[in-house]
């Protein structure tokens, strides 16, 4: 790991001021992706601005119409939260299958979204639930947040403070995981808002995306057979040693079908 200067601001204002002064600075959330990337020298920030001491980023509020989760809330906390489990059980169970239990004790919602790994789990939920990403400057709609491979709508120094998830009528997430890394080879999150259905897909493309054909079919009839015959095009999907684009395209349909089945239970 290359050397860097370490900072531990105690509030958001201080964190933003530090970020504005350091061109090559990075925010440090749980560090479960960033520290590993720095060890491999894939990332060499001059400054790390550690967000761990900022209490304002750790709030979690579950209400009947929306769940708002602070950027520094750990995956394990979301998974265990009785409020989240009651309001959006699919979101709690998604958080409970990210990585492994050690990773879930450190990893955070804000860190996952800012990093935007193509195989991360949270982006599928953020898209399918139509969440709003709150930053120090503005509110960003889910549909406008994920821009490409590790690329988001966040500007330089912009900090995610919280994410607000609308509560659906029913929802479920199904992940076909890589057995070694536990990242999604393909993950599909289906959310039914009563007549309006959103489908978020992760792991398959450069970043998470919605599947419009499935959304339309499920809005007409929310049942597994509505998506079973939808063939997803393999164009532009990821290819690596784990799966070909064709295989991923096929998995999107299979995972969507299973997610709908799970949501109906």
């Amino acid at each position: 790991m290359h050397a860097f200067d370490y900072h531990r601001p105690s509030n958001v204002k201080e964190a933003l001021a530090l970020a504005s002064r350091k061109d090559e600075g990075r925010y440090l959330a749980g560090g479960q992706s960033l520290v590993q990337a720095m060890k491999l020298r894939l990332s060499s920030p001059t400054d790390l601005i550690d967000l761990n001491a900022i209490g304002d980023l750790k709030a979690l509020k579950a209400e009947s119409d929306a769940v708002t989760i602070g950027a520094m809330v750990r995956h394990a906390e979301v998974a265990a939260s009785s409020g989240v489990r009651k309001a959006i059980p699919a979101l709690a169970s998604l958080a409970g299958i990210i990585g492994d239990r050690q990773v879930r004790h450190m990893g955070t919602l804000g860190g996952s979204l800012a990093n935007n790994d193509p195989a991360a789990d949270y982006p599928a939920a953020v898209l399918a639930l139509g969440a709003t990403i709150v930053t120090d400057k503005r509110k960003i709609e889910a549909d406008k947040f994920f821009k490409g491979l590790y690329e988001t709508a966040l500007g330089p120094g912009e900090l995610i403070t919280a994410v607000s998830f609308p509560v659906p009528k029913r929802a479920a997430y199904m992940k076909f995981k890589n057995p070694a890394s536990r990242f999604a080879i393909v993950g599909v999150f289906v959310a039914d808002f009563g007549g309006k259905v959103r489908v978020g897909v992760t792991g398959a493309g450069p970043c998470a995306f919605r599947q419009a054909d499935m959304e339309k079919a499920l809005a007409a009839k929310f049942a597994p057979e509505s998506v079973a015959s939808i063939k997803v095009k393999a164009d532009g999907l990821n290819s690596d040693l784990h799966a070909s684009p064709e295989y991923r395209a096929h998995l999107i349909t299979v995972m969507a079908k299973r997610a709908v089945e799970a949501a109906m239970k």
């Binding site: 860097f4 560090g31 520290v35 060890k39 492994d100």
Partner: protein, 159 residues
Amino acid sequence: MSVKVSMKVNGKPVAADLEARTLLVTFIREHLRLTGTHVGCDTAQCGACTVLMNGKAIKSCSIVAMQAEGADILTIEGVAKPDGTLHPMQAAFKENHGLQCGFCTPGMVMNALDFAKSHPDPTEEEVRDSLEGNLCRCTGYHNIVKSIMAGARAMAGKP
């Protein structure tokens, strides 16, 4: 840049001036000389470096020491009683032959200690799930699972 770090390790306050890039596991092994915490893969896959931070299992190779500033850290050296009496989880590993070469064992035990707190009588499936972040390259999982099931019950005072 050097930074001042202070935390509690196995109940004892420790402090040091470190390079900011020092990983928690490096601090534990090379500065405190507590070498029971192992570095297996160094890429967050194997879990041999698992320690408890404020009671929760984390991979000490995946955070810099400064992320543990002010925290309470428990390593494998702090698990048995000072007189050498094994913790019930350690005793269960011994009893059930839950180790072969032993390299992964400290990480397995630390993760199991945290897991058992919320699972006093876990099923085999729950235990196998809990081990997603711990690898045993001797592949001796069967007895590790048995050990954790027995250790969890022993910790809860169940036969």
